[in-house]
């Protein structure tokens, strides 16, 4: 029911993956399995290690321990099947939108870039400079730049964090549609529990470098945010996130006499 229409993604297997920066252990021997074509969201507080995990899978950093395998073979992110989207679009400002989409391609990529831009609905902006686009449009260009490589694993590092709420919802729909169409595996890092519940097949909570919760989201797609089951699931995960006190945040709060409303805290995570 929740599976994409076509499955083209990699199956990702993390075994005992750990990461240390000098004396500080950011990730403790983590085991995680992503099925082919699955949409998995990683949530957690700032500094919990979720972005570090994503960077390991992306090949931007090397794991200190453990094994990352794709389809049973050691995962090589440098190959064309893994693409990463950052929080900022990271478009080259001196290249046109179309040239940005074709970055790193050789041969005749022009038609493919036009097609990729059409997929994200930006055909008419192909010859603009990135500086002339809005934040949401820039992220869509970054998405097209990833799609043109026909990725089998798409890594999203809080790609919508800087966007306004309406643009964010449009982007959710776009990402979901593209995922269903292309069938790649998605690993999404986000601060926003609602975003995770709206998009993911599974929500995984990272706490202090461990997996704190692995919650399947079995809601039919497209998901309506207003429903009671959606809200209940969102609240359950949010309460679990908040269960482990953030020492710094608690110190900063005055003596809490009012009950804390989880929904009000969503953006503060």
């Amino acid at each position: 029911m929740n599976a994409p229409f076509t499955v083209n993604g990699v199956a990702l297997q993390l075994t005992g993956v750990g990461k240390r920066f000098e004396q500080k252990t950011v990730l403790h021997e983590l085991d995680l399995t992503l099925h082919a074509g699955e949409f998995v969201a990683l949530v957690g507080r700032s500094g919990c290690g979720k972005s570090t995990l994503l960077r390991l899978v992306a090949g931007l950093d090397q794991a200190s321990a453990g094994l990352i395998e794709a389809d049973g073979k050691p995962h090589n992110a440098a190959k064309n099947d893994t693409r990463l989207m950052f929080q900022d679009a990271r478009l080259l400002p001196w290249k046109s939108v179309l040239q940005n989409v074709g970055l790193g391609l050789s041969g005749d990529w022009h038609d493919r870039a036009v097609a990729a831009l059409a997929e994200v609905g930006l055909s008419e902006h192909a010859h603009k400079w990135p500086a002339q686009l809005s934040g949401g449009q820039r992220q869509r260009v970054a998405l097209a730049r990833a799609l043109i490589h026909r990725p089998r694993l798409l890594l999203l590092d809080e790609p919508l964090g800087a966007l306004d709420a309406l643009t964010r919802i449009e982007m959710h729909q776009l990402i979901e549609r593209l995922w269903q169409h292309h069938g790649f595996t998605v690993l999404l890092v986000t601060h926003d529990v609602q975003e995770a519940v709206a998009l993911a097949d599974r929500v995984i909570l990272i706490e202090e470098g461990h997996i704190g919760l692995d919650q399947a989201v079995e809601l039919p797609r497209p998901r309506a945010r207003g429903t009671a089951t959606f809200a209940a699931l969102e609240e359950r995960i949010l309460n679990r996130v908040l269960a482990l006190p953030d020492i710094g945040a608690l110190d900063a709060l005055p003596a809490a006499t009012e009950p804390i409303v989880p929904a009000a805290l969503r953006w503060a995570l």
Binding site: L84, R90, P93, G104, W129, A131
Partner: protein, 259 residues
């Protein structure tokens, strides 16, 4: 509506010239009225006439051409070395450790302080002037190239690497365009400085060039030619700055500040 816009655009083009035009008018008026001694300051018309006479005899073009060629060759050598050094130290930490502090030490020497040494080394021929211009233009280009490369957005480099760019394509598509705004600032500084150094070099020892024109005219008390030479330097400096700005507008089209 469109007519009003047209006049305002015309006004924007003309307005910067209003003050210079008024000054020249006042100057001419004062000179004609005999308020200014023509040996101290010739009238604008006299300067214009001196220019016309020199142009007619072909002298003006000869000196102008020679000064221009000297400035450009000196700038090409100095700017070229500065660019190369800046690229090397900007791209490699090891070269920076090896070279940067040496370059910075040499940079603190005022180029004009080298004149006695330059005359001892090269005598008073062409190479002395080229050396001075090259020496002065090297450092602005070097510093701005180095700084430009170092300030290229690390996030863009990381992104480009994750898309498989490395080596020459990474330099061509990401690092060089990112450093270009800064490099062009260095080029503008260097071009302005090239003329200053050339004036001094040509005034001290030359038998051609605008500096020679001025020094020679001084010997014969031709104040009009002296003023003409000064104005020629101003024009050349302005022209080279305009060329640099043209390059900025063409190469930095993508930059919001140049749109």
């Amino acid at each position: 509506m469109s007519g009003k816009q047209k006049t305002s655009r015309l006004g924007q083009t003309l307005l910067p010239w209003l003050v210079p035009a008024l000054i020249i008018l006042a100057w001419q008026f004062a000179a004609s009225a005999g308020e200014i001694d023509s040996r101290v300051m010739p009238s604008p018309l006299a300067v214009l006439k001196a220019g016309k006479d020199l142009a007619a005899s072909g002298q003006l073009w000869l000196h102008l051409k020679i000064s221009f060629i000297r400035a450009m060759i000196g700038f090409a050598i100095g700017g070229g070395i500065g660019l190369a050094l800046g690229l090397i130290t900007g791209l490699s930490k090891r070269s920076e450790l090896l070279l940067d502090s040496t370059v910075q030490m040499i940079r603190t020497i005022p180029p004009l302080a080298l004149i006695p040494l330059v005359i001892l080394w090269f005598g008073i021929d062409e190479s002395a002037k080229l050396f001075l211009v090259a020496f002065g233009t090297l450092f602005p280009v070097y510093i701005n190239t180095y700084h430009g490369i170092r300030s290229v957005d690390a996030g863009l480099v990381e992104m480009a690497r994750s898309y498989g760019l490395k080596g020459w394509p990474l330099f061509r598509d990401v690092i060089l365009p990112g450093a270009l705004p800064s490099i062009l600032v260095g080029v503008r500084f260097a071009l302005g400085f090239a003329w200053i150094l050339l004036i001094v070099a040509e005034t001290i020892s030359a038998s051609t060039g605008i500096g020679y024109l001025a020094t020679n005219a001084r010997e014969f008390l031709q104040t009009d030619v002296v003023v003409l030479s000064i104005l020629l330097y101003a024009l050349l400096g302005k022209a080279s700055d305009a060329v640099a700005r043209l390059l900025e507008r063409r190469w930095l089209r993508w930059h919001p500040a140049y749109q």
